[in-house]
Amino acid sequence: MPSEIILKMEGICKSFPGVRALHNVDFVLRKGEIHALMGENGAGKSTLTKILNGVYEKDAGLIILEGKPVHFKSPQEAQNMGVGTVFQEIALCPNLTVAENMFIGRSRNAFVNWRQMNEKAAEMLGSLGIPASPTQELASCSIAVQQMIAIARAIDMDCKILILDEPTSSLDEDEVQKLFALMRELKARGVGIIFITHFIDQVYEISDRITVLRNGELIGEYETPELPQIELVSKMMGKALSDVSAMKKHEPPKSDDRVPVFEAKGLSSAVGVRPFDFSIHKGEVNGFAGLLGSGRSESVRAIFAADKVTGGEVKINGKRVKIKAPLNAMKLGIGYLPEDRKSEGVIDELSVRDNIILALQVMKGFFKPLSRKQAEEFANQYIKLLEIKTPSLDTPVKSLSGGNQQKVILARWLLTNPMYLILDEPTRGIDVGTKVEIQKLVLKLAQDGMSLTFISSEIDEMLRVCSRMIVMKDREIVGELSGADLTEQNVMQMIAQGGK
């Protein structure tokens, strides 16, 4: 495909205090191609795109856009020159309407034509099937919807280069397909698309070319069809990976305890999940399956009392307990890793150490601070265990890459050694290698007697670790699958048919 080169980045270097995020990276994007940017967590993918779109300033290197060297000092300049971005962490304004979020910062008119804007927005939303109204405040949309709005905005921007930084991490299969259709359309129009994701299948489905980064260095650029999946993974990880496939065959542990570790009857919460029953046994891993917005997160949040619980009865090891606030749940041995990392997971300005010990510390109580030495020990232990890439314990967690932040939160909960751990999308934004590690970890924890709930938008991932699957539809539990019945086919069917 000898098509015209639209963007050339040469010798890009970027360091943050204590980290070399990019070193001498070259990158070439052609007109009308979808170019996947691959790498492990912290490889520097986001950083590279952020240098391109003016969020960060590069330390060294050249950016040549359509043959002309450019130097963007702000996303605004980049946008004006035709570089559109969907950021990894959604960057929209919650206090503006959906339509405004789609159009703000784009027009150079001194005045806003509301009617026209709303009409255009409604059209876009309609054609993309985004369930939101143009005049609705963005804050009232779910993350997934916000993500789609961000995409809609970028797509509508009429740009030459479109950067999609993990756009699919919170979308379900349907929407991913919709997005891909759009990407193909844009590609046909000659837009160069940089696509970042950790879903390898998606890369092979849509991309033309792959650039692999590792530890801030360029590994190479490849034509997608010419690079076998296994090789891609090993290039990303820097080692031959035989256990990727080996992993798939893990047998979920079965539990035979009679009394469930956790049992809920008629549980409901203020955000409107229908009252539901749920139980989990010692050493069991179960999952919640369902479409986007089917209420999976809401259900587990009710278990942890993350939203106000409005009714229901809860038993732990057969004993009735009251869980009114997250602290109750924590004290009873429940842990919860929320799906929205940015607003509910990390405390971004606090150090990695403080973020890791947070939950344990809170459980110990206000008057019993861990000694510094102890805290450091704990933190180091988990940094090693989960291979968290951080320059130091004192680094604020916000300067870690998305995936490493996620690991920090995981470490936080593992440190409390819960009896029952709820993981809501723990692998979102995590690279393949680590994903596998996490799945293994989950199974190991279960073998050691921990009960886990594992929610993921990738069904096969759940199938790999869960021994029982609870299927939800429209905020209601419609059925359960386990044992031999637990197949992708059956899950899909149940979601589609709503139970029987």
Binding site: P75, A91, N95, P131, A132, E137, V145, G293
Partner: protein
Amino acid sequence: MGALNPNKTKTRMSNSTLLFIIAGIIFLVMYGIALLTFPLSFKQFQTFFDFFNLNAALFIVTLGMCIVMIGGGIDISVGAVCGLVTMACAVLLESGAGDIWDALFLSLGIGLAFGLMHGYLIAYLEIQPFIITLAGMFLAQGLLTTLHREPLNVTKPAFVALRSVRIEIPWLGTVNRLGVFIPCEIRPGVLVVVALVIIYAIMMKWSRFGRNLYSVGGNRQSARMLGINVKKTMFFSYVLCGLTAGISGFVFLITTGAGNIGNGSLFEMKAIAANVMGGILLNGGVGNLLGAPIGTLTLLTINELIRAAGVQSNLQAIVSGLLLYIFIMLQSIIMSLRDRKNFRLVLPSWLKLHRPVEGK
């Protein structure tokens, strides 16, 4: 998912609108109660007009403050700048060095200068607004005392003529103690207030700057990512606020006719209070510009209520604090009630999307 028809989605009222409506209703209710309890005072139209006539400067300052508050900032120098302008203009006019136009330009110039300084330091050097505008306040006060310490009356005939301009409304008015009919009158400052309210309201609702400011106030980081020039937007909000404070100084001078060290003192606090009552949050990103005059009216109505009720001197501050308290509580309770209930009311059941917005 595709089955979801976006047209079915009913729109939830935005925080700004809701707060504005609360502010409006509370003001109306309060004024209604005032009318019933103290008809003697409140039934006279002139009472209402006097709110504007005598407090035009406060209204204007509040507008400027409203803009920076929507942008997520704060400017506590406004009162001092207003005071400085009155004195500077008084000195200018009294010394005979300039005429009214010069004075007007001087007030705009001073306001602009402060606005530029604040804007630059806050937006481009990223210094905390509270501190910089506090310094701005000290600076204005210091300049004022350096300029002239004692009260200074402006006696220049042209100015005196300007400041005695009245627009009479012959068909509205009251009969006073001696049975003389006094028509209602409006002073020139009021026209400035009305003009500014209209201009600013249009600006905040329809101009790119206005919308950008909302987005910057809501989330600075996101605004930048959306391609908004955050620094420029913030910069302009402070420039505008400074400029507005300058205008208010001139209007203040037209209202009272003298430069004085006490002019505009505590305006910043009043403006903040008024804006909050008008539904503009200090966090930024939320509020309707029209809330600013509504809030100011509420504040002034509280004053007039306290006067008419003859509240004991030492209790006046306490009572006005208490009324502010009740007001804020009402606002907060309504907001939290809505957070609990409103979804069921406005949205179809399958669309109950709710997750508390971070940062409240």
